[in-house]
Symmetry: C2
Subunit: 202 residues, 2 copies
Amino acid sequence: MRTFIIKANEAHTRPDFKLSDLPGTSGRIDILCRFLNSAFLLSHGFRKNVRAWLLLYGPPEPPKAIRFEGSRLKVRLNPDERSTARLIMKALKAGEGLREPGKEVEVYPGLYVSNRTFEDVIRLTLKNSALYYLHEEGKPVEEVRFPTNVAFVLGDHKGLGPEDEMFLDGIAERVSVGKKSYLASHVVAYINIFLDSLPNPP
Amino acid sequence: MRTFIIKANEAHTRPDFKLSDLPGTSGRIDILCRFLNSAFLLSHGFRKNVRAWLLLYGPPEPPKAIRFEGSRLKVRLNPDERSTARLIMKALKAGEGLREPGKEVEVYPGLYVSNRTFEDVIRLTLKNSALYYLHEEGKPVEEVRFPTNVAFVLGDHKGLGPEDEMFLDGIAERVSVGKKSYLASHVVAYINIFLDSLPNPP
């Protein structure tokens, strides 16, 4: 089981953006669309053993947590950004007016929205997965022995802030796919292909 | 120097598609947009040592060859699909009415369009690069010794046909990033990150 968690510091938390201008109007929800593409899609296939969490911290109602559960997802995840952004919009619409911090609304089977925080999601994930923070200065992934359940934390184009990094210190091992700073979607694509190559892939 | 070549069997060769529905109206030019994103983009950076060729073979005027030359590109390549599709549209518009097979039109500095065929582009590339065909059954990239100038050939969602494969036999080494069938953009992201990790990256 593979979990990918991305914190999107500016991603809008209401469906107030334009599908025709995601980079300019949504707080870069286009990044989340490509992240989901890399997390789940194969050529003519879909990774059921993946869970993805989007943590949206942009205006006007942060945070919103959107969970895609590969094993249960009944709605089709297409490779293009626009159709994925439409799913995120639907989730944000379903999450409007949510007040209870712990309550998760099912948007479609396998797609959920809640007011969970980044810290909530990390704590929840730690219960059954080894946690890794993808960072240029981490240990090369080739040298890590990954267990059966793995979870990877990534930042968006702004990266994680010092408070998030402090929170992760001691609970997440820093691992790296290289010394350069790569786009989140490229890192996730690399990690998935790399994990597939292991004798016992998570 | 890294060259990435993709043959898109159904990609439209005139700008007759809708930016608001790339998968449905363009013959999957969305695939080419994500391919370019993976070929060129770093987080807050751009790979100048990359050349990308899009070989479009869809209706109504195949073939069209679009070349993105990283070292000279003056127009901004943004990460989102829609703005990249707009560049492809501009190139196709500039290529309308082109008759001479060998003539290349400069759309912007570093962006060119021509009527070159897949075979033309492969022959041209062979002059200064070692050629690799990315294929599930190829030699693992980890076992390949890559020279300074490398070129990778990929298919789109339909893959390359038997004629293309026959043409590549003997001139391109089959190399693989894994046994599964991956999306072109994921393969290119993997290859770029993998090449970066080599002692003398191409």
